[in-house]
């Protein structure tokens, strides 16, 4: 089949799947299509390895596709990225300075659950269904059945937390989901050949001393499938998953490549991507938290050492209050007070804080300036 014919087939299926408010004549003429098993499901693979584009595609399908009596499986993977759950705190879940230096972006998804590291060795599977047909165990069975078919000796089990464990110990898959207006999606990761040292270096807290009621991740030791099944190729894995999905749900769908940035196929998807990239969504949606920590301050000339106490309240990613307790012999109260007050209303972010501090720093000189500078540096370090 030529690419344009395949595309028009997918477009046609999408348009039928989009029939929400259908007149009688409309549904009658297309009823034969509904009984055709091909339209009862689709298996799609995203062209893109951009985490925001792929998350936007999920949102688009969730919002626009009629899923009563149907299902869609979407396969996707991303260039290195950290993805936090809907109600999580990025400052406790991941190491933002390490990520910044490595150029690893942060994304917040709309489903719940914990924090994961994505890279090209991690496969994401999203199972879209109606709310009635929402069944995570059945979806995970697709994955474990496919793996056992590929490598019969493989010990893979889904747990009651909806993780998949290898050899009863190593997590190879984590799950999250979202229930919306009429539909639902359940997505999970699958570690094929991810960079485990990158994973462990980024999945650490950025800041000490944070107290919050944000949903915490449950850390687990992980493993890659490739380490335990060295001959298991990526394409082989995908093929088995597609086949098992079709078997489990009585479908005959071929894997179809799609471009999640195609506005004519997915009108409005670009706007969804913009929102997912925004600071307001990624950081601003963080549940309110307080941060309380000790700052160790030292000086060379004259040698001096003391600790300061820093306490901040952060709401919507912005600093609502800031209290700095610095010994008066180290720095005048006036100056520590100024540093606190310039932060109010600023984003909880070392770049914004540094910019706010610069005015205060400029007004001082000599030894006072040096101490102020050290205090600023210490504060920036604990802000991720």
């Amino acid at each position: 089949m030529s690419e344009s014919t395949m595309m028009s087939q997918v477009k046609k299926t999408f348009s039928l799947l989009n029939q929400r408010a259908c007149s009688w004549s409309c549904s009658r003429s297309s009823s034969s299509f509904f009984t055709d098993s091909d339209s009862a499901g689709l298996v799609l693979q995203s062209h893109s390895t951009d985490v925001y584009q792929n998350l936007a595609l999920e949102d688009w399908i969730d919002a626009n596709v009629e899923l009563q009596g149907r299902g869609i499986l979407l396969l996707w993977r991303n260039r290195p990225a950290v993805v936090i759950g809907r109600h999580q705190n990025p400052w406790t879940e991941c190491n933002l300075p390490v990520m910044r230096r490595a150029g690893i972006p942060l994304a917040r998804r709309r489903s719940g659950g914990g924090t994961v590291f994505h890279d090209l060795g991690n496969l994401n599977l999203t199972f879209f269904t109606s709310k009635k047909a929402y069944d995570r165990q059945r979806n995970l069975k697709v994955v474990t059945d496919a793996l056992r078919r590929l490598r019969p000796g493989l010990d893979v089990q889904a747990t009651d937390r909806f993780d998949i464990l290898l050899n009863g110990r190593y997590k190879i898959s984590g799950t999250a989901s979202r229930l919306s207006r009429k539909s639902s999606y359940h997505h999970c990761t699958l570690l094929h050949s991810a960079d485990r040292s990158a994973l462990s270096s980024v999945l650490r807290p950025s800041c000490p001393g944070i107290q919050s009621n944000a949903t915490p991740s449950v850390p687990s030791p992980v493993a890659n499938l490739l380490d335990h099944a060295p001959s298991l190729q990526w394409e082989e894995l995908l093929g088995a998953l597609v086949q098992q999905y079709n078997t489990e749900f009585g479908l005959h769908s071929a894997l179809t490549d799609i471009d999640p940035t195609n506005e004519s196929m997915f009108p409005g998807v670009g706007e969804m991507e913009v929102e997912l990239r925004s600071w307001d969504w990624t950081f601003g949606k963080t549940p309110k938290f307080t941060m309380e920590t000790q700052l160790e301050l030292t000086n060379e000339q004259p040698p001096a050492r003391c600790s300061a106490r820093l306490q901040m309240e952060v709401k919507n990613g912005q600093i609502e209050s800031c209290h700095l307790d610095v010994p008066v012999e180290w720095l005048p109260v006036r100056l520590s007070g100024e540093l606190s007050s310039v932060l109010i209303g600023e984003r909880f972010c070392p770049h914004r804080a540094a910019a706010a501090f610069s005015a205060v720093l400029r007004s001082e000189s000599g030894a006072t300036h040096r101490r102020l500078h050290r205090l600023c540096d210490a504060m920036l370090t604990v802000m991720g």
Binding site: H87, G112, S177, S180, T215, M272
Partner: protein, 174 residues
């Protein structure tokens, strides 16, 4: 091609749906008055308006003196399982009927919450921050989610009363 046209024309009907996901709940293109409605009709029917009304998304609203208290039904809290986090809107957020106003995260999933009526958020239940389980334990009383002013009282007529909601639950359970 006819199918493409169908897709495009249908997607234009989703203009009320797409912006809901493409913007945060605190930004609304709608210009709404925040004044509650103090018409005579409301005062005389205040006895009726204190009763619970339900949406097909399993939210309930109880209107008293022009303010609606919103929560989720027992059916919903049972289906959700243990709530571990309540994501609620900012006070002052303008909501149109059916707008997403937040999400409840439970072991089952992150489930969107939909506004039963058009109005403005005037209060949120701060107890839920440390005790999200109140939504399960006391969904009609201590587990209320938010209070809102009512801009369009007529919208109440589109909601189900308790008896109609019971019938609705039975119909979907079958």
């Amino acid at each position: 091609m006819a199918a493409c046209w169908l897709l495009r024309s249908l997607s234009s009907n989703f203009s009320t749906v797409l912006p809901l996901l493409a913007r945060s709940a605190s930004l609304s293109p709608l210009q709404l008055t925040s004044k509650p409605y103090f018409g005579r009709t409301l005062a005389s029917s205040s006895r009726l308006s204190a009763a619970l009304k339900f949406t097909d998304k399993h939210e309930w609203i109880r209107v008293e003196d022009g303010i609606g208290t919103v929560g989720i039904s027992n059916f919903a809290q049972e289906a959700l399982g243990d709530v571990v986090y309540c994501g609620l809107p900012e006070v002052g957020t303008q909501l149109a009927q059916q707008d997403e106003f937040g999400a409840l995260e439970s072991v089952k999933a992150a489930s969107e919450l939909y506004s039963p009526l058009t109005g403005e958020v005037v209060e949120i239940n701060t107890l839920l921050a440390d005790n999200p389980g109140l939504v399960n334990k006391s969904c009609y009383k201590d587990g209320w989610l938010m209070k809102m002013s009512i801009s369009k009282p007529a919208e109440l007529d589109s909601l189900m009363d308790e008896a109609a909601y019971e019938r609705y639950i039975h119909s979907i359970e079958d």
